[in-house]
Symmetry: C2
Subunit: 321 residues, 2 copies
């Protein structure tokens, strides 16, 4: 059908001409459309509290404690189940989140503009490894780390970005894919290129030497840091595709830990979901598929754009979790 | 012949078990064996002033001015031709130098130890692009930049290394080769990994913020920076091979811009030379082989160790000169 072919040609052109650019940072409630104090954004298609899997529930609990809406996990669970909290996919707010993908009002986000189409995408800063919210951890050290990211990492990176000016993420990712990243599970080159590009601007910020040391140590310790740049770059690339009438291109793929969902351009905002699958992948020693939660996260927005798993063949190894 | 096979097996084992490690920095006259105020070390096999090509002569002139042994290029030429200056290959002093490879007494050098064999190798800091000594430029801006490298870059990197501790270059290079570097003409990944690894230690040094900014900007501007780490890593790996009796392994390959020379383990320190060839490579627009100097530099120590050109097939592109 010619009109479908034409639509898909247009979709492809939108993807290929996209210019996702890191233009700044902000606090979610100030910059993410529709964000408010009692909204918890999450990965994947829409889901209610009662259907959420353990990791997503854990991240919601951590998010509510981080926001000061609850003091204890029990309080948070009660609040989450009360109907007072709104849950909505990141994807409904031009955002994406890795794993549980929980974003709350006070969290800092990267602001990515697709310069070709003028649309924006948002993503939090990557937390690093170990006990982290995105895997459903919500202990005091998780919340404390999120606070450090809000009070120290974010102001320094935000100011450094203002000093540096926008960063062309398409260029950055194009280079790093040639350096073995597939930018979903391996983000080592992207992270490295980002650090060296930002280094002198970080030193120029109005921050203490001690905090700069912590920022550099944190960035260097976390090869996934740039995942939270490649994901919104892909999101900013794909969102305009979702507006191409009659196109059969899938512009969203994501999981909430219970269901996996896709959206197709021609069918607009409608979600098509199915039970999320258990990943047949690499597990920590002593663990197997029997221990695993069904697939969760918005990070396959990278595959939606055509890289990630599709360029895994040239990636030497995925990096450590 | 069994004794040759045994010797070559031993040579290969020395290469494969080498652990080249960046252990510190120092000033050439303090750390490089045999260095003295009136010695100019150069790339390639031995050569006298009258046989030197333009680029090597230019670098010698710049080196003598940098050392304060001459005030003008004319004075430097007269001095160089007088017999008062000793010329000797870097390779005779456990050192290597890219292109002209000129090393003089005051120049800072990286100190690399092969932890397996206990031997050391030395190399100056890479100057970056544009008008630089290693291509034979000797104008005031070249000497000024060398002074900045001695007075600002070196003390900061030296102190940062002391704070950081030794860096396993074999590990660094193994990673970067998997990230598309061949570590002779492409050193982008190695340079990037080095910067991120050193960043927090650089911030910790007792130096001004302004100088730290300049150091980060310089490192980020120069994708060849890590060439001057991969070269001495290869040198530290190959030097012990040169002591394996009866081995037919070539442990040195290098050019001085007039002659190309090799050394073979079984034949000890003896040089075998032939006229250096004109490179059939990529030239700046408007230039061709007709404009070129014969091959110069110690950097094919990387090929001597087995990477460089031999791993070029997996390198996406060589970086900008």
């Amino acid at each position: 059908m010619q009109f479908i072919e034409d639509a898909n040609k247009q979709a492809l052109e939108i993807m290929q001409t996209a210019q996702p650019t890191l233009v700044g940072m902000g606090i979610a409630k100030d910059v993410v459309p529709g964000m408010h104090k009692k909204l918890v954004m999450h990965a994947g298609p829409p889901i209610t509290w009662d259907k959420m899997s353990g990791p997503l529930r854990g991240a919601v609990i951590g998010g509510l404690i981080y926001e000061g809406l609850a003091q204890t996990p029990e309080e948070a669970e009660t609040l989450a189940a009360s109907g007072e909290i709104e849950f909505d996919p990141c994807h409904h707010h031009n955002a994406v989140g890795p794993m549980a993908g929980v974003v709350t009002a006070s969290m800092p986000v990267f602001i990515i503009e697709n310069k070709t189409q003028g649309n924006f995408a948002y993503c939090t800063q990557n937390e690093g490894l170990g006990q982290v919210l995105r895997f459903g951890a919500y202990g005091p050290e998780v919340v404390e780390h999120l606070k450090w990211m809000e009070k120290t990492l974010y102001p320094i990176l935000k100011e450094a970005l203002e000093i540096h000016g926008p960063i062309d993420l398409k260029n950055l990712i194009a280079q790093s894919v040639q350096m073995g990243d597939e930018v979903h599970n391996r983000n080592k080159a992207t992270t490295s290129l980002f650090i060296r590009e930002m280094a002198s601007s970080i030193v120029k910020t109005n921050s203490s030497r001690e905090d700069q040391v912590k920022v550099f140590d944190f960035l260097n310790s976390n090869d996934h840091f740039a995942l939270n740049l490649s994901m919104p770059a892909a999101k900013a690339t794909m969102d305009p595709v979702g507006k191409v009438k009659h196109s059969t291109v899938v512009y969203t793929m994501c999981g909430n830990g219970t269901e996996f969902g896709v959206r197709v351009a021609a069918l607009g905002d409608r979600w098509f979901t199915a039970p999320a699958e258990i990943i047949d992948g690499l597990y920590f020693p002593g663990y197997s598929m029997d221990d695993a939660n069904p697939d969760i996260g918005d990070s396959c927005i990278t595959e939606t754009m055509g890289i990630g798993g599709f360029s895994m063949a040239t990636a030497p190894a995925i990096v450590q979790f």
